[in-house]
């Protein structure tokens, strides 16, 4: 068993606490993705697991071993950095074999393992090159190779693809997913890219200000977020939120042509709730008059319509295929109530 367990993990820098008691269980062989806004503590948490940051309180276990105060090299983890962190003065092969060399592994054994890893990553032809002479994607692959060679129980990735351009990112994303399937090790992956998180993760951990907001499978978070934060964070373009008044148990909002039956029971006495609807779950009635079309952005297959309600609220609706709203025209919404979500107006927690 080489899952990773965090129990009440806390990190303080001097006086300021940046991780507030995180409890998390990552199963053996799982691909776990940390997401969250910038500065929420994703990297810090990852680095605590790696041992690069000390854990102020709580315990970290890898498999059965308590590694909280262990040396990074002893934890059986390997890390892939955003900037690759390849040693620029070593060739690809040396980069990959360096960790083993430091641990006194025999030359032949190192060569064998490097060969193995470079086969997996198709790096064979580049083994003699210096990182400088390689493209970003190749470098990242070397960095991954370096991690593989050490045969760690847990792979840690800190935004490994964010320095690559869009195309390469797609390619490498697929590559990492394939790798995970192939070697089956536990992987923890930090990203701020929606698509990466959604497509790669077995489990997504949404962090905010050093606390876990929700943990779950990607589509679960998408379909069934626990609160407004997660609902707004997952999905692109973001979910549209309407601050509705509750009138006679129904929801009213200037953008809605008619009062809406709430998709979930409204707590007694609440006079305001927030209604959430994703752009792809709203249709447009071109004969309506509730909102005006600011702008349409046609991307080919889809287009996004930017709308403004009479009270100034903005929202975005997705149109598909060949329907295109013209800018300046007036429309109203066609909702799919089964996909609408209700949130407490104050705390933002989901109402179900």
């Amino acid at each position: 068993m080489t899952g990773v367990t965090l129990e009440g993990a806390i990190k303080r820098y001097g006086q300021t606490q940046v991780i507030h008691g995180v409890d998390l269980q990552i199963e053996d062989g799982e691909f776990c993705v940390f997401v969250g806004p910038s500065g929420c503590g994703k990297s810090t948490l990852l680095r605590m697991i790696a041992g690069l940051e000390e854990t102020s309180e709580g315990t970290i276990r890898i498999g059965q071993r308590d590694v909280t105060h262990l040396d990074p090299a002893k934890r059986g983890v390997a890390m892939v950095f955003q900037t690759y962190a390849l040693y620029p003065h070593m060739s690809v092969a040396e980069n990959m074999g360096f960790g083993l060399k430091m641990n006194g592994v025999a030359k032949a054994e190192i060569d064998r393992k490097v060969q193995e890893a470079s086969d997996i990553l198709k790096l064979g032809p580049y083994l003699k090159r210096k990182p400088k002479a390689m493209s970003g994607g190749q470098r990242q692959r070397v960095a991954i190779g370096r991690a593989i060679v050490r045969g760690p129980d847990v792979f840690l990735f800190d935004e490994p693809l964010s320095n690559l351009d869009a195309e390469l990112r797609v390619e490498m994303r697929v590559e990492i997913a394939r790798l995970h399937k192939e070697i089956g090790a536990t992987m923890i992956y930090v990203t701020h890219d929606q698509v990466e998180a959604m497509t790669m993760a077995d489990k997504i951990v949404v962090l905010r200000d050093g606390r876990i907001e929700q943990v779950g499978a990607p589509l679960e978070l998408y379909r069934n977020p626990d609160n407004m934060f997660v609902a707004g964070f997952i999905g692109s373009p973001s979910m549209n939120f309407f601050d509705c008044d509750v009138v006679d148990g129904k929801l009213t909002h200037p953008a809605l042509s008619a009062p809406l039956e709430p998709p979930a029971p409204i707590p007694a006495g609440a006079s305001k709730v927030t209604l959430g609807l994703r752009p792809e779950h709203i249709g447009l009635d071109h004969d309506g008059d509730a909102l005006s079309v600011d702008l349409t952005e046609a991307l080919g297959g889809v287009s996004y319509v930017y709308l403004t309600a009479s009270n100034g609220d903005k929202l975005i609706v997705e149109e598909r295929d060949d329907e295109r709203s013209t800018e300046g025209s007036r429309v109203s919404l066609i909702l799919r109530p089964d996909r609408a979500m209700l949130f407490d107006a104050e705390s933002g927690t989901r109402l179900r």
Partner: protein, 310 residues
């Protein structure tokens, strides 16, 4: 928004205006080049020329062909002043390089973030700011055979006084030690900034790979400090070849000329009390220049590669 403004008028342009971009650099360069050519480039060639003459700086110069160089050659063969100077220059070159590891060592020592470290860093750097003349004086007293701090300290360990600056075997090393003091400080600062620029993620990668202490230094940090090392190397070599102030202040080349280096010897030959053999001095300068030229060429070459690399 109006589409046309006063900027766009098609009056005929002056010649200067049209060729602005071609002329401007030369106008900017002119004063600098003028000064530099008059005071630096031309004198180098004049020195080459002068080295073929015998001239006491007062009367008429007499053309003597390669005689000055022949004399140098015989001085070399006879193990005379020129030989000593050249030999000492080599010693300087080699030993002066110690400033690099020493500077690295101190830089590593000081690359911390404890309270007051900034002040420590600047105090350690301090010797570099002081004039070599003062450094020379300070070390002369330090070495003084009777009351010098060195001998006082040796006395504590029960070792006899040694007259560093009066011993022809020790004197060069003694002066070099004095020179190493500011030079080490210089290398230290270069390394400190170099260490600042070391990619922390690589250090972390190294930690994950299990590299520690010396291994980390050797395999990961030092290769990244290459630029700092290169610069330290260049300035140290130049410093070693130019060494003049310290020798002049501390020993005047003595005892019996055993601490001379080329730079000092040429000054002595050309401009000191018993000197004024200008041509001979120029010949020595030419030799020194040739040695330096190896390093200049190396430096320019690596610079050229870098420029072309971009």
């Amino acid at each position: 928004m109006s589409a046309s403004t006063d900027i766009i008028d098609s009056e005929p342009e002056s010649w200067f205006h049209r060729n602005q971009q071609a002329i401007a650099p030369w106008l900017f360069l002119a004063p600098g080049i003028l000064f530099f050519v008059v005071y630096v480039i031309a004198p180098v060639f004049q020195s080459f020329n002068l080295s073929l003459y015998e001239w006491d700086g007062l009367g008429q110069a007499e053309y003597i062909g390669m005689r000055n160089y022949e004399d140098l050659y015989y001085e070399w063969v006879d193990r005379d002043a020129f030989y000593t100077s050249l030999k000492n220059n080599l010693i300087w070159l080699v030993l002066y390089l110690l400033a690099i590891p020493a500077g690295l060592f101190i830089a590593l020592l000081l690359n911390q973030t404890v309270f007051g470290i900034r002040l420590y860093k600047s105090l350690f750097f301090f010797p570099f700011v002081i004039s070599q003349v003062v450094v020379g004086l300070v070390f002369t007293w330090f070495y003084d055979p009777t009351f010098g701090l060195l001998n006082q300290m040796l006395g504590v360990f029960g070792m006899g006084p040694i007259n560093v600056l009066g011993n022809e075997h020790l004197v060069t090393y003694g002066i070099i030690a004095a020179g190493l003091w500011p030079q080490t400080a210089y290398c230290m600062i270069l390394y400190l900034t170099g260490l600042n620029a070391v990619d922390p993620e690589q250090i972390e990668a190294g930690r994950l790979d299990g590299a520690k202490g010396i291994k980390m230094l050797w395999y990961i940090v030092l290769p990244q400090l290459r630029p700092a090392t290169f610069i330290a190397f260049v300035v140290t070599i130049i410093g070693a070849l130019r060494s003049f102030d310290l020798i002049s202040v501390m020993t005047q080349g003595g005892p019996f000329g055993s601490s001379r280096v080329l730079a000092y010897y040429m000054f002595e030959v050309a401009l000191s009390e018993y000197g004024f053999r200008m041509g001979y001095g120029a010949a020595i300068a030419v030799v020194l220049f040739m040695i330096m030229m190896c390093f200049i060429t190396y430096f320019l070459w690596s610079m050229y590669r870098e420029e072309k690399g971009h």
